[in-house]
């Protein structure tokens, strides 16, 4: 799905947990998520800590959208 959106020329970042599958599906900008049942959250943390974690992932995604890349890139910390 991510591939066809990029095919029309829109930069897209894929926040996902299962990186290898995202690579095969063809996403070019990938930001790792936390876990499958809660990709942008962590129930073991307090709500404030969780929101901070989430914010960091979204900020990384905005950075990824602005980064020129030449091949599939996983934006780790």
């Amino acid at each position: 799905m991510v591939k066809e959106i990029e095919r029309v020329g829109l930069p897209i970042v894929h926040i996902c947990t299962i990186i290898p599958i995202s690579l095969t599906v063809g996403a070019n900008r990938i930001v790792p998520a936390i876990a499958i049942p809660h990709p942008l959250g962590d129930p073991s943390k307090t709500p404030e800590e969780e929101k901070l974690l989430r914010r960091r992932i979204v900020e990384k995604s905005l950075l990824a959208l602005q980064t020129e890349i030449t091949e599939q890139t996983v934006f780790n910390d």
Partner: protein, 349 residues
Amino acid sequence: MKPYRIVHYLNQFFGGVGGEEKADIKPESREGAVGPGVAFKAALKGEAEIVGTVICGDGYFAENMEKATGEILALIAAFKADAVITGPAFNAGRYGAACGAVADAVRAKLDLPALSGMYEENPGVDLYRKSVVIVPTSDNARGIKDAVPAMSRLILKMLSGETLGSAAEEGYMERGIRVNCFHHRPGAERAVEMLLSKLRGEPFATEYPMPNFDRVPIAPALKDIKNATIALLTDGGIVPKGNPDRIESSSATRYGTYSFAGIDSATDKLYATAHGGYDPTYANHDPNRVLPLDVMRDLEREGAFGKLYETWYSTVGNGTSVAMARKFGEEMGQALKAAGVDAVILTST
């Protein structure tokens, strides 16, 4: 022997009703051949004739698939058809999917031979190649003069009751169905033969191709984020409470189009998960854990980026077929591009 009765299915454009503005017309029928149907007359050489045409708008079909299919089947049956031809749809995405769906329904529900024609990249191919005979055509209507003879020859063969040979022999799209056969030599000898060719760098044909995925060119980076409109999508299954569009919990066949207007956070009052592939308790407790609307609104207010695009799309990425995912992506991409969106964030579980 009187000629076979064939009904031809066309969309609003090829049926001569109109363009995109007529995409919502309900199914209607016409006596005899219409538009491309006329070209079939010569190719069918009197053995069969197009006794009627059923026309339906691509939009109407896409939005009301079950209802439209039922209505179309009724109109086809009214002509006492012996077979149905749908298209050719060339590279028109929604028309191709409709042609495939109608041919599939005719085969499954009316038990009549049916075939279609479309360009290999058309999403309709992957959606229906396994159950419908699809003749490859060029990507635009100029290819009609090649498509019509090929489709006619095949429909006549199907009408005569002969079983079709393999895709390669008969000239239709490979359907991706594995069927057993007997080779001249035992598998062990074939294996040693293949190994020799591989060692010598000579070409060989594997008997079971591994599934593979293609790449897409990298979109250029976002230049001016401060004024950029960014869309937020998910296939993590977050939908408005009650799942209004009844998106399936696995092998989803549709996606939802919703609005963020006036909403600042994906709370558990408004949203829930329809995804059947993971433990739902965490997402239902706080849907922001899958669809980060709260943080996107914060960053939007702080001017980290221009504007959060109000419309968002959601589906369930759990065992979705490659063809279906491609169809969703194409439709979303075209709509977002048309609306002037500059970039997209997609979250998955």
